[in-house]
C-alpha cells in the first residue's frame, strides 16, 4: 500500500472533488426529505385526515431518492471523465507510463479511489435516511397517539424495502461506474468513450422499444414487453417499484394504517443480474488493462472487435431511429405503403449510420500510415 502512495495522490484530486459533489447531493436529498417531512407533520396536525385526502400523493421519500440517484449517476459520469483526463493526454500519459507503476496498479488504484468517492457520501445518505425514516414513523406515531379516533393513513416505504433499494442503488452505481471505466479502456478518447458508454447502456432498450413498435412484436404481450424493458436498462434497476403493502396495526379496535407500499420488482433477479454484470465488467477490465499500449493512443479503438461492435450497434440504431422519426412525420402521408416505407427508412438510416460509424472507427489508423 505504501508504495502506491504516489498513485493515490494522483487520483486524489479528481476523486476528492467529486466526493464533495456526492456529499452535497446526498445532503440536499436529506434536507429535502426533512423539510417535506416536517411540512407533512405540521399539515397533518393542522388539517388532519382532511388534508391528507386532498394530498393523495404524500409519498416523497421515493421521489427524493430518485432525484439523488439521478444526480449521483450524473456525478459518476463526471467522475470517470475527470479520472481519465490525465491519462488520455499524450504528454501526461507518457509521463505516467514511465513511472515505476504497472498498468494494473494504476487501474486498481483508480477504480478503488473512484468507488470510495461515492461510497462514503452514500453511507452518509443511508444513515441519514434511516434516521429520518425512524423519525417520520415516530412523528406519525405521535399523531396517532393524539388523534385516537381517526385513521391516520400515511404511505411510507417500509424500512426493509428502503434498505433493499439502497443496496440495489449502490450495486447499480458500481455497475455503471465499472462499465464506464471499461469503455474507457476500449476507446482512446475521453469524452468519446463516455458518450459511447451512455449510448450503449440505452441502446438495447431503444432497440427493443423501437423494434417492437415497428415490427409489432410484443405488442400484445404487455407483461413480457415490460419485463424485457425493465431488465434491459441497467441504471433503471432500483427505480421500478410496484405497489405492495404492509400495515402497522395497533392492538386496538381502531386501526392505524401505515400503508407501506412500493416494492422493488424482481429484486432477486436484479441483484443476480447486477452481480453478473459487475463480474463481467471486472473480468474485461482486467484483460483490457493488461493489453493497454501507449502506442495505440492515436487510434480510437484498441481492438478490432470493439470497433465492429460499435459499427454494428450504430448501424442498427440509426436505422431504427430514422424509421421512428419517419413514423412520426413522414409516414402519415404514405399510409398505403406503410410497411415498405418503414423498411426503406430503416435501410437508409442503417446505411448512413454505417458510413458515419465506419469513419469514426477508422480515426487514428490513418495517421501512422501516412507518416
Amino acid at each position: 500500500m505504501k508504495e502506491l502512495k504516489a498513485l493515490i495522490k494522483i487520483e486524489l484530486r479528481s476523486t476528492l472533488l467529486m466526493s464533495i459533489y456526492f456529499l452535497v447531493v446526498n445532503l440536499c436529498g436529506l434536507a429535502a426529505c426533512k423539510i417535506a417531512m416536517d411540512k407533512n407533520y405540521v399539515n397533518q396536525l393542522r388539517y388532519g385526515i382532511g388534508w391528507y385526502i386532498a394530498q393523495p400523493n404524500g409519498e416523497y421519500i421515493y421521489p427524493v431518492l430518485v432525484g439523488t440517484y439521478c444526480f449521483t449517476l450524473g456525478g459518476i459520469i463526471l467522475l470517470v471523465y475527470f479520472q481519465f483526463v490525465k491519462d488520455k493526454s499524450l504528454e501526461v500519459g507518457r509521463f505516467l507510463k514511465a513511472l515505476p507503476y504497472t498498468n494494473r496498479q494504476r487501474g486498481f488504484v483508480k477504480i478503488g479511489m473512484g468507488i470510495l468517492s461515492y461510497t462514503l457520501p452514500f453511507l452518509i445518505l443511508i444513515g441519514g435516511m434511516l434516521l429520518l425514516h425512524g423519525s417520520f414513523v415516530g412523528q406519525m406515531q405521535e399523531i396517532y397517539n393524539v388523534f385516537m379516533n381517526q385513521e391516520v393513513i400515511e404511505r411510507i416505504i417500509h424500512i426493509n424495502e428502503l434498505l433493499k433499494m439502497f443496496l440495489l442503488m449502490y450495486m447499480t452505481f458500481i455497475a455503471v461506474y465499472l462499465f464506464l471505466m471499461l469503455v474507457q479502456y476500449v476507446a482512446n478518447n475521453n469524452l468519446g468513450s463516455i458518450i459511447m458508454s451512455i449510448l450503449t447502456l440505452i441502446a438495447p432498450l431503444f432497440i427493443v422499444l423501437s423494434g417492437s413498435e415497428i415490427y409489432s412484436f410484443f405488442r400484445r404481450m404487455h407483461r413480457l414487453r415490460n419485463l424485457i424493458i425493465e431488465f434491459l436498462f441497467v441504471p433503471g434497476y432500483p427505480l421500478t417499484l410496484e405497489g405492495g403493502s404492509f400495515a402497522l396495526d395497533r392492538q386496538n379496535q381502531e386501526q392505524a394504517h401505515f400503508i407501506g407500499y412500493q416494492e422493488i420488482n424482481h429484486y432477486g433477479l436484479k441483484v443476480v443480474g447486477l452481480i453478473l454484470f459487475i463480474g463481467l465488467c471486472l473480468i474485461f477490465i482486467h484483460l483490457l488493462i493488461k493489453h493497454t499500449k501507449m502506442e495505440d493512443s492515436d487510434k480510437l479503438f484498441n481492438h478490432g472487435l470493439a470497433k465492429w461492435i460499435f459499427i454494428i450497434g450504430v448501424t442498427v440504431c440509426s436505422g431504427l431511429l430514422l424509421a421512428d422519426m419517419g413514423l412520426l412525420f413522414i409516414l402519415p402521408l404514405f399510409m398505403d405503403e406503410y410497411f415498405v416505407m418503414t423498411q426503406v427508412l430503416i435501410l437508409i438510416g442503417a446505411l448512413i449510420g454505417f458510413v458515419i460509424a465506419y469513419k469514426i472507427g477508422r480515426i487514428g489508423s490513418y495517421k501512422r500510415e501516412e507518416k
Binding site: 504516489a6 490525465k86 501526461v92 507510463k97 515505476p100 504497472t102 498498468n103 501512422r368 507518416k371
Partner: protein, 308 residues
C-alpha cells in the same frame, strides 16, 4: 549495462526501428543521433518502458524494462516536453517524485535548485520551456538513477541553461557512475560529453562507435594532385563526399587511415592536409550519402566501417 538486441518496432506500415542493436556500458554517456523521424524518440520511449517492441529485446542490467517496476524505480526519464500535472507547483512535483521513487533525495534536489533557482511555489505550467526542462532534469537526477535517459534535453534552452544542464549531468556521472543516454540534434554538445554514439537513419543503425573513433575515421582532406585528379575519384568506395575549388580537392572519407593516404599519394596526391570536422558535419556527410548512394552502397560502407 544496457543491451538493445535487434529491436524492431513498426507503426502501421512505418518501420520506426529496424533491427537496432546497441550495447551501452555502465557509466557511459551515450548519444543517439539522427534526423527527425529517424527513430530516436521511438528508441528512447522503448528504452524507458513506454513502448513495447515488436521484435527484439531491451535489457537494463539484464532485466526487461516494460512494466517492470523494479527497473523503473532507478530510471530517470526526461522527455522533450515536461509539463507534468496540471496545476502542480514545483514543490508539489518534488513531493510527488519523493513518493514515487524510493531513492529520491530532497537534499539533492535543493542543492541543484541553488544553481537553477526555480521558485518552489511556481506552477509548472507557467514556467518557460527551458525552466520546465531544468525542473525535469533536477527531479530525475535527484532520484539518483542508475540510468538517466534524456530526449532532446537542450532544445529550447539558452546558452547558460545548456551549460548548467550539461555540467550537472557530467558531474553526476562522475560522482555516482550513472549511465546516461541522450538523444539530440545539438551535436555540438553531444560530441563534447558523449563517450559513444549511434547514428540512426530511417530506423536503422547507420554508424556506431566512440566519438573519438568516429572523428578519427571520418575526415575531410584538403588534397592537391600533382597533375589531374584520377578520373574515378568520385567512385572510390572510401569517399563519401567530393568537392573541388580550382585544383584543390576537398575529400570527405569515412575510412580514414594511413593506407588511404597512401592510396591518394599513389594516385598523384602531392599535398594532403586533414581538416577537422565537428560531429555535426560528420553527421551531415554520412547521412547525405545514404540518399545518393542507396541501400547497397551504404550497407557495404557500414560493414567495413564498423569492422575497423
Amino acid at each position: 549495462m544496457i543491451e538493445i538486441n535487434d529491436a524492431c518496432k513498426s507503426f502501421g506500415t512505418l518501420k520506426a526501428l529496424d533491427h537496432v542493436s546497441i550495447k551501452i556500458p555502465k557509466g557511459c554517456i551515450y548519444g543517439v543521433i539522427g534526423e527527425n523521424g529517424a527513430g530516436k524518440s521511438t528508441l528512447i520511449q522503448a528504452l524507458v518502458g513506454i513502448y513495447t517492441l515488436d521484435e527484439g529485446s531491451i535489457l537494463i542490467e539484464g532485466q526487461p524494462v516494460y512494466e517492470n517496476n523494479e527497473v523503473k524505480r532507478h530510471l530517470g526519464y526526461v522527455a522533450d516536453r515536461n509539463q507534468f500535472f496540471k496545476g502542480y507547483t514545483v514543490k508539489q512535483m518534488m513531493d510527488f517524485f519523493d513518493l514515487a521513487y524510493p531513492s529520491f533525495s530532497v537534499e539533492k534536489f535543493e542543492a541543484y535548485n541553488k544553481v537553477f533557482k526555480l521558485k518552489k511555489n511556481a506552477k509548472v505550467k507557467n514556467l518557460s520551456k527551458g525552466m520546465q526542462m531544468r525542473l525535469a532534469i533536477m527531479l530525475n537526477i535527484a532520484i539518483g538513477p542508475r540510468l538517466l535517459v534524456l530526449d532532446e534535453p537542450t532544445s529550447g534552452l539558452d546558452a547558460i541553461a545548456k551549460k548548467q544542464v550539461l555540467d550537472l549531468i557530467i558531474s553526476e556521472v562522475e560522482e555516482s557512475g550513472m549511465t546516461v543516454v541522450i538523444s539530440s540534434h545539438h551535436l555540438a554538445e553531444l560530441e563534447r560529453i558523449c563517450d559513444e554514439v549511434t547514428i540512426l537513419n530511417q530506423g536503422k543503425v547507420a554508424y556506431q562507435s566512440t566519438v573519438d573513433d568516429l572523428k578519427a575515421k571520418v575526415k575531410k582532406l584538403q588534397v592537391v594532385f600533382e597533375e589531374k585528379a584520377p578520373e574515378d575519384l568520385g567512385k572510390w568506395p572510401e569517399i563519401v563526399n567530393l568537392d573541388h575549388v580550382g585544383s584543390v580537392y576537398y575529400i570527405v572519407t569515412d575510412q580514414y587511415s594511413h593506407s588511404f593516404e597512401d592510396k591518394l599519394r599513389k594516385n598523384g596526391a602531392r599535398l594532403i592536409e586533414p581538416i577537422g570536422l565537428n560531429l555535426e558535419e560528420v553527421f551531415i556527410y554520412t547521412s547525405t550519402v545514404e540518399r545518393i548512394e542507396g541501400e547497397r552502397g551504404k550497407d557495404e560502407r557500414v560493414k567495413s566501417f564498423n569492422k575497423n
